[in-house]
């Protein structure tokens, strides 16, 4: 973890027992990884849903110098909140359109990449992506499209999906279902240990 370079506040060594919120349980520490578009105000917009939903920010590590291949800026946020609030905070972030790559130590701990091949544009790419997100409870973290012949020929798309740990195989099966219904081919990742 990047605690040394973090902007602020150390996490308290021990949670004082009397600090209770209306969640009723002791707050725990969580880490959320986000990817932000490089535009003014994005960081503030991403932090607001945390505070609004009872999360207490502990530190923010803003990796400005380390952009993703798509030009996004990775941000790591440490916060504390009662366990039952954590899911609400993550959902609120997603509702604001914030790209949550990983939330907590386990829950969104896996990413997987798949290729779609075929008549991607004319089969309504945004509808395809919507269906994938709806059926799989995976989140689209990144998308690249390559259509060298325009709409005339076969094109390819690379999807990076963030998903819950242990769910990658299920997600891939559902992606295949959605793609097959649209006549698209899927190139799956080889998930070692899944064979």
């Amino acid at each position: 973890m990047s605690g040394d370079e973090a902007l602020s506040a150390d996490a308290p060594e021990e949670m004082p027992g009397e600090e209770r919120t209306d969640g009723g349980e002791r707050p725990q520490t969580y880490t959320i990884r986000l990817e932000l578009v490089d535009e003014p105000g994005q960081l503030l917009a991403a932090l607001k849903p945390i505070a609004d939903n009872g999360g207490n920010l502990l530190s923010i590590f803003h990796e400005r110098g380390n952009k993703t291949p798509r030009g996004h800026i990775p941000v790591e946020v440490d916060l504390e909140c009662p366990p039952d609030r954590f899911e609400i905070i993550v959902d609120a972030l997603r509702e604001e359109g914030v790209n949550v790559i990983q939330a907590g130590s386990e829950r969104y701990g896996e990413e997987l990449t798949v290729l779609l091949v075929g008549d991607i544009v004319d089969t309504d790419l945004s509808d395809t992506l919507r269906r994938i997100e709806r059926c799989t409870d995976a989140t689209l973290a990144d998308l690249s499209l390559s259509a060298p012949e325009g709409r005339e020929d076969i094109s390819s798309a690379r999807l990076r999906l963030a998903t819950r740990a242990g769910k990658a195989t299920t997600v891939v099966d559902l992606v295949r279902e959605v793609a097959t219904a649209k006549g698209l081919n899927v190139v799956e990742p080889l998930m070692e240990g899944s064979a």
Binding site: T113, P148, V187
Partner: protein
């Protein structure tokens, strides 16, 4: 100890077995092609037999089936792979086992399509059946599994078709389209005039079916029909470009477990073990207590595959 070997099939593999048997200390007492046979219980002269085959298109003057009845300790079955009833390869292996002699197969058909029948014949016979050459050419895949113990291996995955691997690795490296690279591969002799068997995934699937049969140790029997098979023809250059941008590439990967067989194009790390270049093959065994075990090398070719056949013969001494 020198064993007497009868070789059925005089294609690239059969010829190389005849040529190299002496180096491995064995004697070839019979050779059969599709129309004739050469038989000499005292041992044939490999050069003379192969010269005659080149000159006259036939290895000898006897009938092909006479080779099956000749004197030998080990029958090497190296006729072309056939699907379904796996004939005539299966009957050749049966002839050896029913007369209590050993059979060594380079022909994938009987092991992939009739594994149960083949094992039943072996149980009734004093002879044994071995088939290292059917999976991964020169690479000792099956003997590694046997040494390690199939019980302790949970899965086998990897690249077992050099033609498909050559095409995908060239497409990725040069940014060329499938058709272009395929015709280049045909010019180089890496792909057959009819490449369907390789590019549609059938050849790789047969090998992974054999691996699944070996790994399941008789609990389940697999045939080609049981495998999920997808080829590489629909992979456009743009898909390989997108994969490369992300540090990945696409290879025709097979997976065999005691429960399942599948072959298809898959995303793998660009610099990972499975992203072989060219025609090389690799098998990665997932072990119970020792992580991954990789074996790689030349997966096809006459002399390469003949070394696997002759290693099997030597195991039977």
């Amino acid at each position: 100890m020198s064993l007497n070997v009868a070789v059925v099939g005089a294609g690239a593999v059969g010829r190389s077995v005849v040529e190299l048997a002496g180096e491995y200390g064995h004697t070839v007492t019979a050779v059969a092609d599709s129309s004739s046979a050469a038989i000499d219980p005292a041992g044939l002269d490999p050069e003379a037999v192969l010269d005659r085959k080149d000159r006259e298109g036939a290895v000898g003057t006897a009938a092909p089936e006479d080779a099956l009845a000749a004197e030998y300790d080990v029958l090497v079955e190296a006729t072309p792979t056939t699907l379904g009833d796996a004939e005539p390869g299966f009957s050749h292996a049966r002839a050896a086992l029913e007369s209590d002699r050993h059979a060594v197969l380079a022909n994938k058909g009987p092991v992939a399509e009739r594994y149960g029948d083949l094992m039943a014949l072996e149980r009734e016979s004093e002879g044994s059946v071995l088939f290292e050459a059917t999976v991964g050419g020169a690479i000792p895949v099956l003997s590694t599994i046997a040494d390690f113990g199939a019980d302790h291996i949970t899965a086998a995955r990897g690249v077992l078709n050099g033609t498909a691997n050559f095409i995908l690795s060239r497409m990725a490296a040069e940014g060329l389209g499938y058709e272009h690279v395929l015709s280049e591969a045909q010019d180089l002799g890496v792909a057959e005039a009819d490449p369907a068997f390789d590019v549609e995934g059938t050849d790789a699937a047969l090998k992974f079916v054999i691996l699944a049969n070996v790994l399941s140790q008789g609990d389940d029997e697999y045939r080609l029909d049981d495998a999920d098979v997808e080829g590489i023809k629909d992979i456009p250059g743009s898909a390989l470009d997108l994969a490369a941008e992300d540090g990945r590439t696409v290879r025709l990967i097979g997976e065999a477990t005691p429960e399942r067989v599948r072959v298809g194009p898959r995303l793998v790390p660009q610099h990972g073990a499975l992203a072989m270049t060219g025609t090389r093959n690799i098998v990665q065994l997932e072990t119970e207590h020792a992580g991954q075990l990789n074996v790689s090398g030349r997966g096809a070719g006459g002399p390469e595959t003949a070394t696997a056949v002759l290693s099997d013969v030597s195991r039977l001494e």
